[in-house]
Structure formats: structure tokens, C-alpha cells
């Protein structure tokens, strides 16, 4: 924790640290996780998290969230969380620069930490907001990583519940920064994740970096949505997003202009519909969600209408839970179909290298490749089965499969008219098409498929130690030689060990 402390001091300033210290000083004798919420209700994690697996919610946890995090007693609304990890990739040999491609491979690290400001503010208002520090966020030219602090998931709510013997209506409004972060089910894009997923920059093949159903717009936006949960059966939510700026710029705090997603206007609708049913210790949800987002290519430039592209995402998801101490079984499934219409400039200019110069790929016979498709469709499917015993020992298997249309635009490896398939990272050869090893895509197809296996142990409710193994059978469109330099999907298989703690 010392590193995180030091880093936070640097990034968040003395205020952040005093808040964290204040929190520690006010520690009650029984520590609990999401600790601030647990202190607020005085309950253990298992009341809200199925089998204690953060962030998956129980039916009660979902109601806690939908009623605006307002159940309980107001307490200091602060928590901290930290992750230490170790990741090892199967094959690091087929790389030009293992130091940057596999930075910190096989080295234990203190990867990331978060501060949460979360809890009940009034009888109707509550918040869940996370600020994350990633020790290995940015790779500098000297192959050293620099830490970075930024706004993570944020959800501020107003909610009310009208309930009597005949009806039960929860109504609320959420101001949040990530489409579906407001959702109470964990097959929603913002939540269907293995936690923790630290420091993707240095561990680029762990499960956290593999395909997840999601929204093309990404996060760190500013959105407002209204929702209704009727008789704990029908859930409907409608909202819209815009660029996080002005008074709402804190929702993308820590991101510089070039990495803040720029949306066009406020007409970027998000919708969600779900049916939920509980019987005995079982509960099932079947739902659908979607979003249309108008996103500028160059995050800093919102002047040229020809830079404007469009994402349309439509998804279906389902979750089944069986919760009866000592057993917790969860089955999750999510599928999203994304249609991306590229901006006029993207279509006209085709793929470019890091310096903005056009990439000219040819086929093996030297014929120029087909022009860029004006739009692409991508389908991502994910399923996960997990079991936890006594909220202490757990395991899971997940399957992910991304398929989609091939497009020269997706290529960053290919034949150069003069040099063939050449890796020329320093530009010494003068290749016009900069093929890349390891992250390269030779086929122009996004197809990626694999399994993730995990086993974990929670010695106490706010500490989790886990072993995770992600095995790829396809990566960037191919099983073998996906980058054009002989790297195979299975070379990316990654073992990831972690210890996660929250307070």
C-alpha cells in the first residue's frame, strides 16, 4: 500500500490522503467491503454481493443500488481499494521489443488503487464514485511506465420508492459517466468484468483486456438517465450522453483532451429493458440494452463534421443466480452487436500509421487491398459460470468470442509494396506499411476467442486472492500467425495472480 499512498499523495494532493487517513482512523472493529456501503448498512458484503464476489449484486444489493444507495445510516462515505498482481504471458519471444510489449511480465507489482466516495447523502440521494490510480497507465518513450489517476465509474442518484401491499415502484434518476454503470445487473457492459483488472497497459492479454460486450462510445462521458423498477419485475431505463465537459468535466477528470471521448451534442441515447423474476433461492433476469453514439475521431477536434462517426450497439443479456448459503451459483450471458459507421474522413483516408501517414498494404501478389469498408459489424458474446462456497472459495469459467467483418482499416500488419511483411519499428528501412508484431492484425478481422478460468479464495471478506488463466484460440482474426510474423493466438495465453483488498 505504501506505493499507492505515495502516488495518491502526488496525484490527489494532501486532501485525498487526509481523507484516506481519516477513513482509516474511523475504522470500526469489523472491516467490511464495498466497505463504505457495508459500514452504512452495517451488513457484510454477502448481503449485497452474491457469494461476496464483487461487483456481482444479490437481489437485495440491486434494490440497495436502485433505491439510490440510501438504505442505512450515514457514515463517512469513503473506501479504498488496492490490487497487487503478477502476470505471465506464454511466449514473449516473438516480439521486437519484449520490454515494452510485455513490460513487467513475470514481475509482481502493485498495480492500481482506487478511492471510492460512496454512500447515502440524504433520504433520496446517494453516490457511488470511484477514482482510480494506475501505477502502469502510460508508456513513455524510455519504456518506463508512468502512473496516472483518473475518474473511474461514477453514479450519482436520486431515487424514491412507492410501495404498499399492491404495488412497488422504484423510480430514480442517475447522473453517471459510463453507459450502463447505472444498471443493477452484472451482465451490463459496465459490470460484466473480472475484478480486479489492473494495469492493462502492462498486462495486455489478461482477461480484463479480452473482448467484452460493451458500448462503442466507451466511458468517461456525462449522462443522465431515468429508470423505473416495477414490482421488482420490469426494469426500464432511458438516458442520453454527451461529452464530459464544463461543470461535468470532473467525470473525465485526469484524462487529457486527446483522450476524452468527444460526442456530438446530447443526442446519444442509451436504453435498457429487463425482466426479472425470483423464485425460492433462484432469480433470473433477461434483458436488452442499446446505445447510439455519435463520436468524433480525433478526440481533440470537434470542428470537422467529416470526422464524425457513429456507433450503434444492441445487446441482449441474461443472468441466473442461485443463492443459498453455503452455495452461490451464477450463470451470465451477454451479447452485443455493434455497427460502426466510419466518418467520411476515415473512409477517404484509409488506415494511417502512428504519425498519421497512410498505410499502404498490398496482398501477397502486390495488388492493393480492397478499399476501406464504410462500416463494420462486430459481435461479442460472453458467458460465465461461477460457483462460490461459503463466500470463501470460488471458481469460474468464462468464454468470450468476438467475430466481425474484415476491413483493411483494422489491419496494422500486412505486405508492404517493397519490403513484404516487415517490422520496421525504427523506420530505418523506410517501409511505408509499418507491420507490428504481437499487437498486429494481419487479416483485418477482429475475431478473438478464448476461455478464462479462475479460482479464488477470500480469507476474510475484504481480501481476495486469485489465480486466473486466459487461453486464446483465436486472436486478431486468426489462430496461427495473426500478426504476420508467426505469432499464434495461444502465445498470448496469460497467467494472472492477484491479491485484492478493500477497506
Amino acid at each position: 500500500m505504501r506505493n499507492i499512498g505515495a502516488a495518491l499523495r502526488g496525484r490527489l494532493g494532501a486532501g485525498g490522503v487526509s481523507l484516506a487517513l481519516l477513513l482509516l482512523a474511523m475504522a470500526p472493529y469489523e472491516a467490511q467491503a464495498l466497505p463504505a456501503f457495508a459500514r452504512q448498512t452495517g451488513q457484510n458484503c454477502v448481503a449485497c454481493h452474491a457469494g461476496g464476489q464483487f461487483p456481482e449484486l444479490t437481489p437485495y444489493g440491486r434494490m440497495f443500488k436502485l433505491t439510490g444507495y440510501t438504505i442505512g445510516t450515514r457514515v463517512v462515505p469513503l473506501s479504498v481499494m488496492g490490487v497487487a498482481g503478477y502476470a505471465k504471458v506464454a511466449d514473449t519471444s516473438k516480439s521486437d521489443n519484449p520490454a515494452s510489449d510485455f513490460y513487467k511480465n513475470g514481475v509482481p507489482l502493485l498495480a492500481s488503487g482506487s478511492v471510492f466516495i460512496a454512500g447515502k447523502l440524504t433520504d433520496n440521494i446517494g453516490a457511488f464514485s470511484q477514482i482510480t490510480y494506475d501505477n502502469y497507465a502510460n508508456l513513455a518513450t524510455d519504456n518506463q511506465y508512468a502512473g496516472h489517476t483518473q475518474a473511474d465509474n461514477m453514479d450519482f442518484r436520486y431515487a424514491d420508492r412507492f410501495i404498499d401491499g399492491n404495488r412497488d415502484i422504484v423510480f430514480g434518476v442517475s447522473l453517471n459517466n459510463n453507459p450502463s454503470v447505472s444498471d443493477p445487473w452484472n451482465t451490463a457492459a459496465a459490470w460484466m468484468q473480472y475484478v480486479p483488472t489492473p494495469s492493462p497497459a502492462s498486462h495486455q492479454f489478461i482477461d480484463g483486456k479480452s473482448p467484452f460486450p460493451g458500448f462503442g462510445s466507451g466511458g468517461n462521458l456525462a449522462g443522465l438517465s431515468a429508470y423505473l423498477f416495477w414490482n421488482q419485475t420490469l426494469y426500464a431505463e432511458l438516458g442520453s450522453y454527451r461529452t464530459s465537459k464544463g461543470a461535468l468535466s470532473f467525470m473525465s477528470a485526469g484524462l487529457n483532451g486527446a483522450s476524452t471521448t468527444q460526442l456530438n451534442g446530447s443526442n446519444n441515447p442509451y436504453w435498457r429493458l429487463a425482466l426479472s423474476h425470483e423464485w425460492g433461492p433462484h432469480n433470473l433476469m433477461v434483458g436488452t440494452s442499446g446505445m447510439i453514439a455519435h463520436v468524433y475521431d480525433a478526440n481533440s477536434d470537434i470542428t470537422d463534421p467529416n470526422d464524425l462517426g457513429r456507433f450503434k450497439n444492441v445487446g441482449v443479456d441474461a443472468q441466473y443466480q442461485y443463492i443459498l448459503d453455503p452455495h452461490t451459483v451464477t450463470v451470465q450471458m451477454a451479447y452485443t452487436r455493434q455497427t460502426q459507421d466510419y466518418s467520411a474522413n476515415t473512409i477517404a483516408n484509409g488506415p494511417v500509421d502512428a504519425n498519421g501517414n497512410p498505410l499502404v498494404f498490398v496482398d501477397a501478389n502486390g495488388n492493393p487491398l480492397a478499399p476501406v469498408n464504410p462500416s463494420d459489424t462486430t459481435n461479442i458474446f460472453r458467458a460465465k459460470l461461477s460457483y462460490v462456497y461459503q463466500a470463501r472459495y470460488g471458481g469460474s469459467v468464462a468464454l468470450f468470442n468476438r467475430t466481425g467483418t474484415s476491413n483493411t482499416l483494422n489491419q496494422n500488419s500486412g505486405y508492404d509494396p517493397v519490403f513484404g511483411v516487415t517490422s520496421d519499428p525504427t523506420g530505418a528501412l523506410g517501409a511505408t506499411a509499418l507491420s507490428t508484431r504481437v499487437t498486429g492484425n494481419f487479416s483485418g478481422n477482429p475475431g478473438t476467442r478464448g476461455y478464462t478460468y479462475e479460482a479464488f479464495w477470500m480469507p476474510v471478506q475484504y481480501v481476495r486472492a486469485g489465480v486466473q488463466y486466459t487461453a486464446y484460440s483465436k486472436y486478431n482474426g486468426a489462430s496461427d500467425n495473426y500478426d504476420g510474423f508467426g505469432r499464434n493466438a495461444r502465445d498470448n495465453n496469460t497467467l494472472f495472480l492477484y491479491v485484492w483488498g478493500a477497506y
Binding site: G15, T41, Q43, I71, G72, T122, F162, E278
Partner: protein, 213 residues
């Protein structure tokens, strides 16, 4: 540090006094929230609006003896009932309830009508009925009816057992038999004489509690 603490305290105090919504509050530390509101807004999520929960993780409170409900809530609040589920779920919820609120909550749930649970294996239930009505004489286990009543309806601080979820009943029997989680009750003695199969049998019988012969 001081400034931060002060600022935070002031902000929270302001936010708190400005907006309380007594008819629909989920605040568990405000003595002015009427018990029926707490029952609807909070307790119902687990125990059901009518005290008949959907999931057997949560005990049925409908029709439970008033004095028993009061006693249990007081014991969660004072941490005298400290079995794992009680600690995990009920300590925090009860920690700031006033005596008057506890009594109001007990009034609310005792008035509700308990619904019968699903019947289990007939042979198991028959064995359970035997234990319920006659005890286990060779182990000197007294019949349950002696304290819990012929209809399993309970009286005063002797709880109603009829229609209670079998899973919950067996868990409590294990708590009495193997732990100090619920101390100072005759149940420690009673549970000692019963095997796990006998516990399962009596729990299955009580969950359905068929009235006809």
C-alpha cells in the same frame, strides 16, 4: 486534516437536515421514521412485504410471535444473537433502531398471515411429525409441541415454527447444537439430542406443517 474533517461534517449535516422524507425513508438511524415505513422500504426487500419472503435465505416473519420478534431484534442490536447470518445481515440493520421502532416492526410482522411452505419427502415429514409431537424419548429430547404449541404457533418468546423455511430451521438447529451463536435458551439442550437427519426431518415437517392426518 482538520479542515477536511470539518468540511465533510458540515456538508453531510447540511445535506442531512435539508432532506428527510419520513413517509418513504430508508434511514435506519432516524427515530422519527415510522416502523411501517421501515418495514416496507427496507425489511420487505428480504423478508417480503407481508413477511413471507421469496427466498429461503430469509426467515418468514409473518405471524411470528410479537414478543419473540422484539426479543430477536433486541438481541441482534445487542449482539447477543450472533450466529453468522444474524451477524452478516441483521446486526447493522438493527443497530440504531429505537425500542419503539422495534416494537412497531414486531407489530407489523406479527399481524401478517403466514403462507405454508412446500411439502417435502412424505417419509421424512412423517418422521419429523413424530419428533415434533413426541420428542426423542431415548435421547431425552422433549417434544417440540411442549414449548412451540400443538400448531407450531409459538407463544410469547417461544417462536412460531409452522411454515418456517426448512433451510432456515435446520440452520438454526445447527447453530443451537454446535455454536454459542444463540446462547441461554433451552434449545441448546433440545438440539443436542437430535441427529442431522432428525433435524432435517422435523424442519421438512414444519415447513409444510400439513394440518390433516
Amino acid at each position: 486534516m482538520k479542515k477536511v474533517k470539518l468540511g465533510l461534517a458540515v456538508a453531510l449535516a447540511l445535506a442531512g437536515t435539508a432532506c428527510s422524507n419520513l413517509e418513504r425513508s430508508r434511514d435506519l438511524a432516524n427515530p422519527n421514521v415510522p416502523p411501517a415505513v421501515t418495514a416496507m422500504q427496507v425489511c420487505s426487500i428480504c423478508h417480503g412485504v407481508t413477511g413471507n419472503p421469496v427466498s429461503p435465505i430469509f426467515p418468514r416473519l409473518a405471524g411470528q410471535q410479537r414478543d419473540y420478534l422484539v426479543a430477536q431484534l433486541e438481541q441482534f442490536r445487542s449482539h447477543h444473537r450472533a450466529d453468522p447470518a444474524g451477524f452478516e445481515y441483521m446486526f447493522g440493520l438493527s443497530r440504531n433502531l429505537t425500542d419503539a421502532q422495534i416494537q412497531g416492526l414486531a407489530d407489523y410482522f406479527t399481524k401478517q398471515v403466514p403462507l405454508p411452505g412446500a411439502p417435502g419427502d412424505p417419509a421424512l415429514m412423517a418422521a419429523g411429525k413424530e419428533i415434533f409431537e413426541k420428542g426423542v424419548p431415548e435421547k431425552a429430547t422433549p417434544p417440540c409441541v411442549a414449548c412451540h404449541g400443538p400448531k407450531g404457533e409459538g407463544v410469547a418468546t417461544f417462536p412460531r415454527l409452522a411454515y418456517q423455511y426448512a433451510d432456515y430451521l435446520s440452520k438454526q438447529m445447527h447453530v443451537f447444537r454446535e455454536t454459542e451463536g444463540r446462547p441461554n435458551t433451552p434449545m441448546t439442550q433440545v438440539a443436542h439430542g437430535l441427529s442431522s437427519t432428525q433435524v432435517e426431518a422435523v424442519a421438512a415437517y414444519l415447513q409444510a406443517f400439513p394440518t390433516q392426518k
